[in-house]
Amino acid sequence: MSVLPVGFKTLTRREILRFLRRPKNTFVPPLVTNVLYFSVFGVILGQRINEINGVPYVLFILPGLVVLGAISNAFENASFSIFHGRWNEYIDEALTSPLSYTQMALAYVVAGATRGLFVGVLIAIVGAAFTSVGAARPLYLVAFGLVVTLLFSGIGIVGGLWADDWDDLTMMNQFIVRPLVFFGGVFYSIAELPATLRAVSLLNPMVYMVNGVRYGFVGQAEVDPHLSLLVLSGLTVAVVALDVALFRRGYGLTE
């Protein structure tokens, strides 16, 4: 007998099955995009770019691309699933059941993070076809992988509850997630930036995520990985607590 309540397990399972059964929507797009990224940025352009801290460029961008794919998919899964359920009102099936508000919120968080992790692994596998890559610090890799996907799944829930329209979802991904990622040290080393820009970059949580995951893959980071992990974990706990509170309040869910 499992220690997890049947209701929580069922909703989590439903959420995971939803994306597993639609690989065309969930796994094929990041696969194609990342083959393009690795070919163009990594191999074609990367040959003209010097090694960064002794790491070939294609290997340098791999952790960033993994983070980019993992967090956008975690975010998209949670926000889409909640919003689609609200739009078609079938989220009522869970809302009118005896699931606790904490169980509801956690089920969506876990499922979104699971999709993020799957996509992260998929991108790492694609990357391995272009460059030789291992896990220098596997425990850090797992820890950062978990924390960034949980965090963005948690943020996705807020987005899915807040959105009034499909455009709102696209907007959040295009105008918030992507800029943060692109200025988060995925494609360049923040050490190379002028002092001011470097200081601004350190306010971007993405910098800590990319560096943490890079530390896991290649054993090098521009920011202390322990501090990163601590800050990100704190942020994740806060966001998940917010998710639970929003479910309890019925924000975006009840009248």
Binding site: T10, R13, R21, E93, T96, S97, P98, S100, E255
Partner: protein
């Protein structure tokens, strides 16, 4: 015995609109209770407060003694809801949708699967178990909503307009099914536009208008308050209205219409035999007699119209 539903001074406001304006109702356990009212009377809001889709602004609401907010998990576990809207998971075949719903209520996977098959057979769409909801016909969609409400074996079955837009055959099937469930002990709360439905099924009805309870009574009690029409046809039509003394106090009007005597009266069924005897003694030979009872629908329209005109001053 604790009531299946107990609300006291239940209120819900949307800005200036009072969707529920102090609703106090008791639905006894095991009863078949009807909630009647025109569009916008607050029927669906009332139901949605019970299942947690609408947050009350004031008052109390409890299901089998569990407050719908403080003990929301216990309250929701007692309720099976077949709503008016088709709010069904589009991603999965209907059998899986049922398994999920059962799981949310803590029913383990093996048992959930068995129950899903059982309720699909019960509502007659087992053959469609691997189809997604969107591909079902309108009538099957209604049947499915009922199956989903039954999957958790609820103590309180809430049916919000269950027969809206369904054909006669299906309507009768649904009636039979829910009557059986009620006889087996399930409490049923039914909202409907079809007054005939309430008349036929319910032990007790509450009439709701503009968020207030106008009346709670059995359908028979309500119908007794309306006027019935007795039409008498004579072999030789009289030239003037015969004197009618029977049922004094109940009779509202006596007229001759094309040679036939038309009497309107409350509780016309009770009055008819006296009327016939009196006319017979007066030498009138009767060839046809028709008593048409007032319908619940007429009483309903009368009550809710009256309410509208005085609504502001109450």
């Amino acid at each position: 015995m604790v009531a299946a539903i107990e609300t006291r001074d239940l209120r819900k406001r949307y800005g200036d609109v009072r969707a529920l304006d102090g609703v106090s109702l008791t639905v006894p356990e095991g009863s078949f209770f009807g909630l009647l009212g025109p569009n916008g009377a607050g029927k669906t809001t009332f139901i949605n407060v019970l299942v947690g889709l609408v947050e009350r602004t004031g008052g109390d609401a409890a299901v089998f003694g569990h407050d719908v907010e403080r003990d929301y998990r216990q309250a929701r576990d007692c309720i099976g809801l077949a709503p008016q809207e088709f709010n069904v998971d589009r991603f999965f075949p209907i059998r899986e949708v049922l398994e999920h719903k059962a799981g949310y209520h803590g029913i383990p996977a093996d048992e959930a699967r068995e129950r899903a098959d059982e309720v699909l057979k019960q509502v007659g769409i087992y053959g469609k178990r691997d189809t997604r909801f969107d591909w079902l016909s309108g009538g099957m969609k209604r049947r499915f909503l009922l199956a989903r409400a039954l999957i958790t074996d609820p103590d309180l079955l809430v049916l919000d307009e269950p027969t809206a837009g369904v054909d006669v055959q299906l309507r009768h099937d649904l009636w039979d099914l829910i009557t059986d469930l009620n006889e087996a002990g399930t409490t049923i709360l039914l909202t409907t536009h079809y007054i005939e439905e309430a008349e036929r099924l319910c032990d007790e009805v509450a009439i709701l208008d503009s968020g207030r309870v106008v009346e709670v009574a059995s359908p028979d009690e309500l119908m007794d308050r309306g006027t019935d029409t007795i039409t008498v046809t004579f072999r030789d039509p009289p030239s003037s209205v015969p004197d009618v003394a029977a049922g004094n106090g109940h009779v509202e009007s006596v007229d001759l219409d094309d040679g036939r005597l038309v009497v309107t009266a409350r509780q016309g069924g009770l009055l008819a035999p006296d009327l016939v005897r009196e006319l017979d003694r007066g030498g009138h030979e009767i060839v046809d007699l028709d008593v048409s009872r007032t319908s619940l629908e007429e009483v309903f329209v009368e009550m809710t119209n009256g309410q509208e005109s005085t609504g502001g001053s109450r």
